[in-house]
């Protein structure tokens, strides 16, 4: 009797050990994966960095015929489209989060949140098709001529609004990116607004603040770390977004300050040229672009995560 219990115990602890080892192994694949991604990208990108050196970051050459490549135009396009996206998406997301947490009647909150989140479920290729075939022609026809003729002659900023009225270009890409990141920023903002202690808000209302003043002077300062984290999360998404941008940015390897001019981003260049790249240096340069993108999004997402972790820690400390 006692012998059989002993074997059972022994078998159980072996099973425990195996189970723990198996799950830990699975968890470690996540680390292995990120290290492998970095190693492979660095290894394959090395020839390009080695050949072009620092010029890879400062020159604007992109010529497969003469084998001259550099990253500056793609980096510029990636940053400027993401910047446009944030300029549009941040206030809109704030507005939606304000509406959902403070204004909307209870029965409307969930449907509105779900609908906004569905924007994130739609595949990016659908945004691209819609942008190219539906939005761009309409924009070129109706809005662009008006904007160019009215704002195009303003001093300093006028140059931004010039370009051929073809609907596609840097601005269109930025606008579509904005729509795509709104659900991500909104959902973080909504979550952090929801955890503001009710006492804080009631105190502010008690001394006669309006809803807006409570929002702007109490809720926003209290949640600013989380809000910035949400914005960084949206930025990380915008930087790496590929298919939607590829459809509407026009794919030109030129830097232009005008927002209606075609451009390119790191991801759109990869999507367009990678499977057709001929020669090791061409492929290596494209992978080098991928590495730069990975590095930048890694840093941005890491900052986002660290900020959101601080919010969580504060929440945890209170309860």
């Amino acid at each position: 009797m006692s012998g059989s219990t002993h074997t059972t115990r022994w078998r159980d602890s072996l099973a425990d050990l195996l189970f723990r080892g198996l799950t830990q192994l699975a968890a470690l694949t996540v680390l292995a994966l990120i290290l492998a991604i970095m190693a492979v990208l660095i290894d394959k990108a090395w020839p390009a960095f080695h050949t072009f050196g620092l010029k890879f970051f400062t020159s604007t050459d992109w010529d497969p015929v003469t084998n001259k490549f550099s990253a500056l135009t793609s980096i510029y396009g990636t940053l400027i489209t993401s910047l446009i996206a944030l300029i549009i998406a941040v206030p809109v997301s704030f507005g939606i989060a304000l509406f959902v947490t403070e204004l909307a009647p209870q029965w409307l909150r969930r449907p509105v949140s779900t609908a906004v989140e569905l924007l994130a479920a739609i595949p990016s290729i659908i945004y691209g098709m819609w942008g190219l075939f539906v939005f761009a022609p309409l924009f070129a026809d109706k809005a662009q001529p008006w904007i160019s003729s009215h704002l195009g002659h303003w001093p300093i900023i006028g140059g931004l609004f010039q370009g051929p009225p073809i609907g596609i270009g840097v601005f269109t890409a930025g606008l579509i990116l904005a729509i795509m990141v709104i659900p991500f920023i909104t959902s973080v903002m909504r979550d952090v607004f929801d955890v503001v202690p009710i006492v804080l808000k009631e105190s502010a209302y008690g001394i006669g603040c309006t809803t807006w003043e409570v929002m702007w002077n109490v809720v926003l300062p209290y949640t600013r770390i989380g809000v910035v984290g949400g914005i960084m999360l949206g930025l990380g998404r915008a930087l790496g977004e590929t298919m939607a941008v590829t459809f509407v940015i026009g794919n030109s390897h030129d830097i232009s300050l005008a927002l209606f001019m075609p451009g390119n981003t790191i991801s759109s260049t990869l999507a367009n040229e990678f499977s057709e790249a001929v020669g090791p240096l061409y492929t290596s340069s494209l992978i080098a672009l991928g590495l730069i993108l990975f590095f930048v999004t890694f840093v941005v997402l890491a900052i986002a995560k660290l900020l959101l972790l601080r919010v969580e820690a504060r929440e945890g400390a209170k309860t």
Partner: protein
């Protein structure tokens, strides 16, 4: 008098900004409605039974997208079949063994970054490890890149859902003498099965629309092929190529494909939500 003016001004600012917040909400929902309307109006015209029976045609000829639909199902299946077990096991470790543990925090952190990492970079990575060394594009490499995108989604949801299970249940089972793995599998995972399933469904929805990582892994195939070691037709890349083509018939097919894939994804994500809601209400 001056006080009254100040009051009216504050009221005005308040009213204006709250109005703007409603405008922002309408602005966000407006794009959703426009997108869906575009899909339906363009897609329904191109819908017919042949889409599911015939393969992708050469330009100008009639045809369907049966090969792309089958290819997409196979690629997604490979992604789900690899991504799900690894994700669930890893999430289990984080929830049960990695509560106050440096390594677990690091894995959690990296996983959240992978969750939002650009999918095109995953494609480049898989190209570097599977496509370039073997010398050709293949269905397997496409499936693997989808699995890498699936993994963080499943991991995150599994951990979150298992953590919702109260510790008293674990302690009660342990007190009865159950070994730890039995506590985890038969008590904790059983209690959170609906939530874990939600994660799998959401992950499936996410990878079935992914285009970028397939561009240089599975590539595409004009013909019917179920050979995973060869380039494989799939809906997203087909939509991309056909939409960018100058041929009217191909563009029509692209719209039909876009409608089918979006409908499938929206059904998946809405059912995941309903499933989760039904099961959180019980508690």
């Amino acid at each position: 008098m001056a006080q009254n003016k100040r009051y009216l001004f504050r009221r005005g600012v308040n009213l204006f900004n709250l109005g703007m917040s409603m405008v922002a909400t309408v602005f966000g929902l407006f794009w959703l409605a426009w997108l869906l309307w575009t899909l339906v109006s363009h897609g329904v015209r191109a819908l017919n039974l042949n889409l599911f029976l015939q393969d992708t045609p050469p330009p100008g000829a009639p045809g369907g997208m049966a090969n792309a639909i089958i290819g997409s199902l196979m690629l997604t299946a490979v992604g789900v079949l690899i991504g799900t077990p690894v994700g669930i096991l890893a999430g289990t470790w984080l929830a049960e063994y990695g509560r106050a543990n440096r390594l677990a925090s690091l894995i959690r952190f990296i996983n959240d970054i992978l969750l939002s990492a650009p999918s095109i970079v995953i494609g480049v990575f898989v190209y570097g490890v599977l496509v370039a060394p073997l010398g050709h594009f293949s269905g397997w490499s496409g499936g693997v890149s989808l699995a890498i995108i699936m993994l963080p989604v499943v991991l995150r949801t599994t951990e979150d859902m298992m953590r919702l299970v109260p510790d008293q249940m674990r302690e009660a089972a342990a007190a009865l003498g159950a070994p730890r793995w039995k506590v985890t599998v038969f008590i904790v995972q059983r209690a959170s099965i609906a939530g874990m399933l939600t994660g799998v469904i959401l992950g499936t929805a996410r990878i079935s629309g992914e285009t970028a990582p397939l561009l240089f892994t599975a590539l595409n195939n004009q013909f019917h092929s179920t050979d995973m070691s060869q380039p494989m037709a799939n809906l997203p890349v087909m939509i991309f190529q056909f939409a960018m083509s100058p041929y009217e018939g191909w563009q029509q097919l692209a719209w039909a494909g876009a409608l089918i894939i979006t409908a499938a994804i929206l059904i998946l994500s809405i059912s995941a939500r309903l499933l989760l809601r039904a099961n959180t209400f019980e508690k």
